[in-house]
């Protein structure tokens, strides 16, 4: 059965949406990955205790 334009359009939109659904989370992750490269992990966050320059993980 041939598709009517409306169904073809909806399928294209769904396909694009599907690709978007696959791409967006990935692209949304990229900034987080980049951010983690410049941010310290909680354990390595600097703290000063009684003059000692420590990592949070030292405690």
């Amino acid at each position: 059965m041939s598709m009517d334009p409306t169904r073809r359009g909806l399928l294209r939109a769904a396909t694009l949406a599907g690709i978007g659904a696959m791409v967006l989370p990935g692209t949304a992750l990229l900034p987080v990955v980049q951010a983690s490269a410049t941010q310290r992990s909680p354990a390595s966050a600097p703290v000063m205790v009684k003059g000692w320059l420590l990592k949070a993980g030292d405690r």
Binding site: V49, G51, L53
Partner: protein, 482 residues
Amino acid sequence: MYIDFEQISEDSDAFDVCIIGAGAAGISMAVTLSERGHRVLLCEGGDADYSERSQECYRGDVVGDPYIPLYGARLRYLGGSTNHWGGVCRPLDGYDFRAKAAASETAWPIERGALSPYYRTAAKLLDLEVPPADQTVPGAGLKRIYFSLGNPTRLKDKYAETLRESTTLECCLTANLMALETQNGTVISATFQNYQGDYRSVRARYFVLACGGIENSRLLLWCNQQSQRQLIPQHATLGRYWMEHPHATVGKALLFEPAALGMDDEYNIFLSPIADALESRQILNCGLRLHRMNAEATQELIEELVEQAPALAGRLRVWQAQGKVIHGAVLRAAWEQEPRFENRIELSQELDKLGVPRSRLVWQQSELDRRTIRESMLLLGEYLRDNEVGRLQLADWLADTPVQLPTDGELAGRHHMGGTRMSVTPEEGIVDRDCRLFAQENFYVAGSSVFASAGHANPTLTLVQLALRLCDHLETKLASII
């Protein structure tokens, strides 16, 4: 040869150069110029050895931050403060001669390259070995630096025979500068007084004032006053921009990887921020000294750290069980003080026994001075922590902000700098790039009082380099007369 005070002559043809003050700069210049055949008169206000009558002229007041009593911070007899210095030397860094981002007043009118030709001769004169080249510590923003450490040379002993036997060098003790006569931009004569109240005047082609980083200012303030400001008409900066090297114990460190800083081999290592770190942190220069602790003190420091860092304790215990070498170190520091107009030598109302007003030192460390030492320590502490080289503990007074400087202990290095600073114009300083008083064609100043900025290194080597450079300059001037 030594001459008595009564033998001082006003004969204008007797001397090429009259040098006033026989400390590191004065003796260096006197022996250098006389060895080259120039006729030199070296006048020293003190005696051959320590005497109360001379030393009491160094009494003065201190206003502002706690400081070492002026009476005990320097010596006033033949040899000057070389009679008690520690023999520790290092040249200033190249960037000490340029305007630092944190304080533009730190700029000299000369580059370090102007002094480089005199480095080896100055080191030889002071019996110093040339130390190894600085080495960058990768990833630290710091470099490992080296000092010449040796038996401190007492210049009056080293050159005793020259002072006694030279036919071109006459040395007169107990000759205290009282006045300078100037006429049409030339110093005509210098007048001296001994302890018996006798006066003698000296004429020479050139005069050099070399009495130290406090006394140069005091004597020029007095002589300028006596001359109705004909000597130094533009005198706003006379005595000003005075600087010291604050010294203190600044913390401790536990080094898990002592080899990263060279402390596996050495008991004492020295570090300093690199130029980029000075700029990025907006600080002046600093020398950090790490002194290795013994095993007992190291273990105590480990226990202190374990108390604050229980999660780190497990690793420390494992390392110790494995026999890993961990060193504790005490940290001391000397840092560059900001040149500030407000820090100054001025004349007191009280007179010494010769009738000259005593010195008053007005001195305070600035917010930049405090930031310099704190940020330098943070720079090291961050490197140790982030690279798992160790952990650093700031001294109590540095851990809290605002920084409250110690009021006892070392306080400073007895390094007296500035007061007759070198500059491009007479509005900004007292001597030009040749160390000549701007308004007098034949009067020069030698010593650390001409420093435009302090760096962190002990000043003796640099001031002797400057003195030897001045010798070359005077030799050129004398040659043009002949």
